[in-house]
């Protein structure tokens, strides 16, 4: 059983505490949203799972294995930043990723590229911001890995691109085998595709819910729930 697990995980950057004593278990077959204000620890959480940073205390495991930099064999990580080679074309970038990751599925990449309406011969430096966002989705979802992490995949993109990305997620994620974690401020936009949500504040997880149960039991949508918990009106359940 593949799973992401945090046991008493803390992370400090010099004097700044980014995460405090996080305990968390996530099961496969789900799309999980990480929400919370800027600087609350969302990206730090993803980077710990991706093995890009190490915890100051505690243990992070993926699939029972302690996370190190080598976890990238099992984890696809979509960064908030653009880190492409501008002189590559879209097709060359896909070929480059295929050469870097043995789990990269070229056929699937082509399928997603067509879905995202990206021309293979466009130079990356000439792509709009929206098309770079689309390309990142192609490169991330073409990897057949158990864990997919997406840091702010919708941020700063226009509504049409956001819609294409959300639809792309629904079309190309393999929920039989994968778990997907998404950090976002665009809560309304992802609400209908999330199974679970984690609410982070000041480096602590102050809520962990199944999104449908939240509607069922408390008659609350995500935005209302987040507002309520942030304001301290309702007891957080972790």
């Amino acid at each position: 059983m593949r799973m992401i697990k945090f046991e008493h995980v803390g992370k400090r950057y010099l004097k700044k505490v980014a995460l405090k004593d996080i305990n968390l278990e996530l099961k496969p077959g789900k799309i999980v949203g990480l929400i919370g204000e800027n600087g609350s620890g969302k990206s730090t959480t993803l980077k710990l799972i991706a093995g890009l940073i190490q915890p100051t205390s505690g243990v992070v495991t993926v699939n029972g294995r302690r996370v190190t930099r080598r976890i990238s064999e099992h984890v696809a990580y979509l960064s908030e930043l653009d880190e492409f080679y501008g002189f590559f074309t879209v097709g060359e970038m896909i070929a480059f990723f295929a050469s870097q990751y043995p789990d990269f599925n070229r056929e699937k990449a082509e399928e997603i590229r067509r879905f995202m309406k990206l021309a293979p011969d466009s130079k990356i430096k000439n792509l709009s911001k929206g098309n770079r966002g689309r390309l990142k989705i192609v490169l991330t979802l073409a990897r057949e890995v158990p864990v997919v992490l997406m840091d702010e995949p919708l941020s700063g993109l226009d509504p049409m691109v956001r819609d294409a990305i959300v639809k792309g997620l629904i079309s190309f994620i393999d929920l039989e085998r994968q778990i997907v974690l998404i950090t976002t401020h665009e809560i309304k936009e992802v609400e209908t595709i999330l199974d679970e949500v984690l609410l982070i504040k000041g480096g602590e997880i102050i809520g962990h819910k199944n999104v449908e149960e939240l509607r069922d039991r408390e008659n609350l949508g995500l935005v209302e729930w987040m507002t309520k918990v942030y304001a301290g009106d309702c007891p957080p359940t972790v």
């Binding site: 077959g29 799309i31 629904i170 994620i173 209908t192 209302e224």
Partner: protein, 127 residues
């Protein structure tokens, strides 16, 4: 496209949408529903949620899943008649609750409804 209200589970809202499509005849008895993933993309919903919607409709006997073939609208006329009846009741009770909440009496509601139907005659299609 993704107009779901935030107080009710999405799988139930999607189930209701499909039921209305069946009653309206947009989905015919025996017709195949879109695959879970296609329905997910069309309605902007997580495939797990669509799966749950289909399971729910199946438990109600409104659709049936044929192994390896997909999910189909039931061809059982009784089931469809019951569905028609229950959607009617649900819609009426929603309307009546709203009217009562505003303080209208039964007689006023009935008279108002009759007037409305007479005035609107021909405006709604009969089939």
């Amino acid at each position: 496209m993704t107009d779901f209200d935030s107080a009710t589970p999405i799988y139930l809202q999607l189930a209701e949408r499909i039921q209305r499509q069946i009653v309206r005849g947009d989905l015919k008895p025996g017709e195949k529903l879109p695959s879970v993933r296609d329905m997910g993309v069309q309605s902007g919903v997580n495939p797990n949620t669509v799966q749950r919607t289909y399971r729910e409709l199946e438990a109600m006997g409104i659709v049936e899943t044929r192994r390896g073939q997909g999910t189909f609208v039931s061809e059982n006329p009784e089931v469809l008649q019951t569905l028609r009846e229950s959607l009617k009741r649900a819609e009426i009770s929603r309307f009546v609750e709203g009217m009562k909440a505003m303080g209208f009496s039964d007689a006023e509601i009935i008279a108002g409804l009759k007037d409305h139907l007479t005035e609107a005659e021909g405006r709604y299609e009969d089939d």
